[in-house]
């Protein structure tokens, strides 16, 4: 899934399912089944992701959306507490603003 390149201009509603798929790949389908993943879901509180899983998620975002977004650069301006309390809506908005 993260091999695709040059995604067309996507709406926020179109980006969210892509992020959900990445989360499924990172934490495993069996865990995702029990989760209600929405734009309001945060990395740690709701999705129970730890920092190395957020790294894996970030890599998938970078590989999929390509050079149009500097996802790591965006995250690097935040401290760790801010990063792990991000929700998928924040990330979707950021990605959408770059495409």
């Amino acid at each position: 899934m993260d091999q695709l390149t040059q995604p067309a201009k996507l709406s926020e509603a179109e980006i969210l399912p892509v992020l959900k798929q990445f989360i499924t790949e990172v934490i495993g389908e069996e865990f995702v089944e029990d989760l209600d993943i929405t734009a309001a879901s945060s990395f740690t509180k709701d999705l129970e992701m730890d920092s190395i899983e957020i790294v894996a998620f970030s890599e998938k975002v970078k590989n999929y959306f390509g050079k149009d977004i500097d996802f790591t650069g965006w995250l690097s301006n935040m401290d760790l507490d801010q990063i792990i309390s991000l929700n998928l809506g924040d990330i979707t908005k950021y990605i959408q603003s770059c495409l």
């Binding site: 509180k45 920092s51 190395i52 894996a56 760790l80 507490d81 792990i84």
Partner: protein
């Protein structure tokens, strides 16, 4: 997930600013993983350097290994990684146990290292300090997992708890990591540290239990400078921007 196959294990690594003229290689500590660098410290260094982060075996997303956590084996792993990536020499930075691996690598392969940075490495002789570091490491994980400041362990979700539990069960009960580090207890006195020729930056937390180890390293390494920053053993999380900028300045400065 980027991985490299080394002779005895498969290692997860992350690279930033590939193609830059010089490389900084970063080694995390016991019970943590490369994410300790990934979000804040590595991007600062990647403004100028090719940065290589990797998960030590048994940690993060690298393969598990029951044996070979002594400093010699871990420096062999580091060298194998450098060879696989065709890195002839690097600036090397290590945190805690990763700093001990960095020191060992600098002793054994001095020509492979340009400058050396050691953050919060304990003296393995001080088992009490090692235990404190162990406790800190556990709290650090809790901190990462929960996104909470300070050191107060907080409620974890079931999946996170199970992951943490599996990591500790494996490393502490099924691997030789504790025994291997016991055997390193004379590393500061017999390990050749006084022969390290590299320009070295030591970074320690003002309130850390490891301060005495920092002072001892400063005394033993000929060309070492000791920098204190606010915080304790957890300074990479407490002061990531201070540490990232200190490392960048240090690696950039010409003699």
């Amino acid at each position: 997930m980027p991985v490299v196959e080394l002779p005895h294990t498969r290692i997860h690594l992350q690279e930033m600013n590939k193609g830059a003229a010089e490389t900084v290689l970063m080694v995390h500590g016991m019970f943590t993983n490369l994410s300790i660098w990934y979000f804040n410290i590595a991007p600062i260094l990647a403004e100028r350097y090719h940065v290589v982060l990797y998960d030590l075996k048994g940690h993060g997303m690298s393969d598990r290994s029951q044996h070979g956590y002594d400093l010699q084996s871990m420096s062999d792993e580091l060298l194998a990684l450098m060879n696989t990536l065709q890195l002839t020499s690097v600036h090397l930075a290590g945190y805690s146990y990763g700093g001990l691996i960095a020191l060992k690598t600098a002793i054994r392969y001095p020509e492979k290292i340009k400058k050396l940075a050691v953050i919060e490495s304990p003296n393995p002789y001080e088992q009490e300090t090692m235990n404190v570091v162990d406790v800190y490491s556990k709290e650090l994980l809790v901190h990462f997992v929960n996104g909470q400041g300070g050191h107060s362990p907080a409620k974890m979700g079931k999946r996170q708890l199970e992951r943490r539990h599996r990591l500790y069960e494996f490393l502490l009960k099924e691997s030789t990591i504790r025994q291997d580090m016991q055997q390193e207890r004379h590393f500061f006195s017999n390990g050749g540290i006084k022969d390290i020729p590299h320009e070295t930056l030591l970074i320690y937390g003002k309130d850390s239990d490891c301060v005495s180890a920092g002072l001892e390293l400063q005394e033993k390494i000929k060309d070492a400078r000791l920098l204190f920053v606010n915080g304790d053993h957890n300074i990479p999380v407490q002061e990531p921007f201070t540490i990232g900028n200190a490392l960048k300045d240090f690696f950039e400065t010409q003699d």
